[in-house]
Symmetry: C2
Subunit: 307 residues, 2 copies
């Protein structure tokens, strides 16, 4: 089960950190941007290529310290064809370095459409009888608003290709409570979704007490996370919101179980753009990867202090 692979890698690295590969042009060092503009002009391709060079620099410096990376597809999709090419190359590169890939795609659609997403992202597509792998992700994030028949189409590929899901339960954004915290009869909506995600996970239970069907639970809502940890004892949490979004290590200790497992915490710009922060000003722009490495080491220490 892929969840066991993730857990083993967390144990190995002693680090429940996932690096969010959400590149933006203002994170990318000038020397990379200049090279790409020289080659490709001021084009989407140049942006995409600069993202790929940037991602490689990050991955090369963190792959031995973290279990996983989480590319956010929006940052690539916005560039069209060149961006999707970069997303695929980034997943491939990180995978070759031994990292677990969590594709942050947040898809959610009716069954026949979900099957298409599922085959593309975590299965294989059929081209006239020949099977092709398109995206190289181990987990993907999905949206529950449409209900079980929008999630079920991913389950067969999870089983057949050893993949997993993280279903949005309680998101990290400020307005997440607008619908997620509505009372649906003794429970809030996010709790109801959480209960069901826990039950959906029974079909993909791993060997370490957790399912390959996980949940997205924001670090910015510790009280809610605590309730969910109790409500979903077999569900692994993907925890966004640490750092730039305001979530603190103290707050997200509640996401972990008594063995210090049960959750993986994402940080994106806090790691990948570390070299731009005063804290890491000793690193030059050329050393952006080393700055990211130091930020990972510091984040690990910060998390381990609390869990």
């Amino acid at each position: 089960m892929i969840i066991d692979v993730l857990i083993e890698k967390i144990k190995e690295t002693q680090n429940p950190t996932v690096v969010g590969l959400d590149p933006r042009l203002n994170f990318v060092p000038e020397f990379i941007k200049n090279e790409c503009v020289e080659k490709y002009g001021k084009t989407p391709k140049a942006v995409a290529e600069s993202f790929f060079e940037f991602n490689k620099g990050i991955i090369d410096n963190v792959y031995d310290l973290v279990p996983a990376v989480k590319p956010q597809i929006a940052m690539y999709e916005m560039l069209g064809v060149d961006g999707i090419d970069c997303f695929i190359k980034t997943c491939d590169y990180a995978s070759k370095k031994g990292l677990v890939i969590i594709g942050d795609i947040k898809r959610g659609d009716i069954a026949s459409t979900a099957e298409a997403y599922s085959d593309g992202h975590i299965g294989e597509i059929d081209a006239f009888g020949i099977k092709h792998k398109i995206f190289n992700e181990d987990f993907i994030t999905v949206n529950p608003y449409l209900g079980w028949d929008s999630i079920d189409p991913y389950m067969a590929n999870c089983k057949n290709y050893n993949k997993g899901l993280f279903v949005l339960v309680k998101t990290s954004n400020p307005n997440s409570g607008q619908f997620q915290n509505l009372d649906v009869g003794g429970l809030t909506l996010y709790q109801k979704v959480g209960q069901l995600v826990e039950s959906w996970g029974e079909k993909l239970m791993g060997e370490n007490g957790y399912s390959s069907v996980g949940a997205v639970v924001g670090a910015t809502h510790p009280d809610e996370a605590k309730i969910l940890r109790e409500l979903m004892p077999h569900t692994f949490f993907l925890v966004p919101g640490y750092g730039a979004q305001g979530g603190k290590a103290e707050d997200l200790a509640v996401c972990f179980d008594k063995d210090g497992l049960g959750a993986i915490v994402n940080s994106s710009r806090g790691i990948i753009a570390a070299y731009k922060k005063d804290e890491y000003s000793k690193f030059t722009e050329k050393e952006f990867g080393l700055a990211a490495r130091q930020a990972v080491i510091d984040m690990k220490a910060d998390l381990r202090r609390c869990i």
Copy 2:
């Protein structure tokens, strides 16, 4: 306002039908598939190129009869780079034929990520100071689970680039009630979402009484659609589920206002794969476009009988 453009085109064509461009290999005629395999082998590119040839054949035969097309991005995204290329070319081709493009992408993410989707799909992206349009969509569908701050980032581009949204309210799939029909205190969740979508729409009101912020309301749930029509008087409905999913013209009459406006009804395989149905067996495979044309004429008559 783009909603006024859509309404004018519905009036012009007297046809509130949107053709869902959701190609699948088994819909594509053999002669197209053979040509593409000959050129590109049994590859994702061959699938994507066969989709594009197929889409052009459909568009060429329906563009004068319908106001809009709705490509479902999953069918393209599953093919990776080649699929996204086909999606973009399909939108461009349909746009040049004067059709309104509804990109069925159902994205939903935190604000900083939503901005990336927004710039890519309905705005422009910045490549080192030069602006580029990537996707050529007029409307996109979005998911409300994360709340207002996940929708707000689209509003500026809607205003600046004359674009619109359809927010998922009550979806057409069988399990849509699992969360959407939960009672959230005197209202169901989909009604609560509907109320808020109606209020969000105030910022983008057009000249015909409707907003460029619309709602997705499934044809398969007529009782719910009736309630929503009353609850959301200024919200245009995108209605999936007609035909193959079981929605009937009689059922979806409730989605329209007294002037026969207020909704646009999607049909995908019922139109694009019409040549495969017994009903249209007089059309040969080469005439798949003409069969689609006839299916559009028949659907228009069916809808106009009821609204």
